[in-house]
């Protein structure tokens, strides 16, 4: 009878780089990528309570990379990897803030049986978070106040539309859409390179 060998799955995925490798990649990162990372940190720090939040977020992201709590998958560019960490740090912040406030629970009562009552975390944002988000959307729109096409694109992005859907709903041609996105990119980079408080 032929015996079938069952292999124990490896705990360490080969496709994930070791922290030392990512640390080395960070050390060798060129100045253009550094500036891209700064711009991304400034984007994701929008709406967070204190002024220098982007610096703290960036430091925290670097710490996670160096300690190995975040592993870089092979083939993922360092800038995209850092962007992912910064995004999750932002989400972590709001999750923690919501947990600390503690009063946002959704209660679903059962008609007959009280033991079947459910208490879930309320998925809707709290008033502070909603207000902060609205303010930030207004501030982002102010960046593009002289560009009507860009404003339409931002509205579409906020609604979760794809590029094609935005073009169809706004009546922009492919060329107009692409050039508006290029203008947006330049404005975002310009804003990202500064250290102006918002």
């Amino acid at each position: 009878m032929r015996r079938v060998k069952h292999r124990i799955p490896r705990l360490v995925d080969k496709r994930v780089l070791r922290p030392a490798q990512t640390a080395l990649a960070l050390e060798l990162v060129n100045k253009m990528d550094l500036l891209r990372i700064k711009a991304i940190a400034r984007i994701y720090a929008r709406g967070l309570p204190h002024e220098g939040a982007w610096e703290d977020m960036l430091q925290e992201a670097l710490t996670r990379v160096l300690t190995g709590s975040r592993r870089r998958p092979e083939g993922v560019a360092i800038v995209a990897f850092m962007a992912g960490i910064l995004r999750s740090l932002r989400a972590d912040y709001w999750r923690r803030a919501k947990r600390e406030s503690g009063d946002e629970k959704l209660r679903i009562d059962h008609l007959r049986d009280e033991s079947l009552t459910l208490e879930l975390a309320d998925p809707t944002p709290g008033p502070e978070r909603a207000l902060s988000a609205r303010q930030q959307i207004i501030l982002i729109k102010q960046l593009f106040s002289d560009d009507p096409a860009a404003l339409k694109i931002i509205d579409g992005l906020g609604d979760g539309l794809t590029a094609e859907q935005i073009r169809l709903s706004t009546g922009l041609s492919t060329t107009d859409y692409d050039s508006a996105r290029r203008r947006m990119r330049r404005r975002v980079l310009r804003e990202g390179l500064t250290c102006e408080p918002r």
Binding site: K31, M32, L34, L35, R36, I37, K38, A39, I40, I43, Y44, R46, G47, G52, W54, E55, L58, A77, V79, A80, A83, L86, R87, W94, T124, P125, R129, A130, A133, R134, Q136, I137, I140, I154, L157, G158, D159, G160, R181, R182, M184, R185, R186, V188, L189, R190, G192, L193, T194, C195
Partner: protein, 111 residues
């Protein structure tokens, strides 16, 4: 059938916008970054350029910029020892003791 009204929470909309803008920053070419810096009259060849504020140097002034803070120095001292690097100025305890030459009287075997 009634039209469905979908209400998007503001934080979801903001996150979507931020993701799109971050994607723009990821995809920006080196030329676009340089052009954006040139718009702001930033010289990317200079290490002290404002573009690198928060990356290669602190944006906000640090306490150590104004005062000589002794605490960090005191904390750094044992780290040097742990790392295996001898401190630049060894303290009195770490200096090798200067022993006075002592005559050693050896007992001669008795004949």
């Amino acid at each position: 059938m009634r039209t469905k009204i979908k209400r998007i929470p503001p934080d979801t909309a903001l996150l979507r916008i931020m993701d799109a803008l971050a994607q723009e920053a990821i995809e920006a070419s080196d030329e676009e970054v340089t052009e954006a810096a040139a718009d702001l009259r930033m010289d990317l060849n200079s290490r002290e350029s404002a573009a690198f504020a928060g990356l290669t140097y602190f944006v906000r002034p640090q306490v150590s910029d104004f005062f000589s803070v002794e605490v960090p120095k005191a904390l750094q001292a044992p780290v040097e020892g742990i790392a295996g690097n001898p401190p630049a100025h060894p303290t009195d305890r770490q200096r090798p003791s200067k022993r006075l030459p002592i005559a050693i009287d050896r007992k001669r075997p008795e004949k």
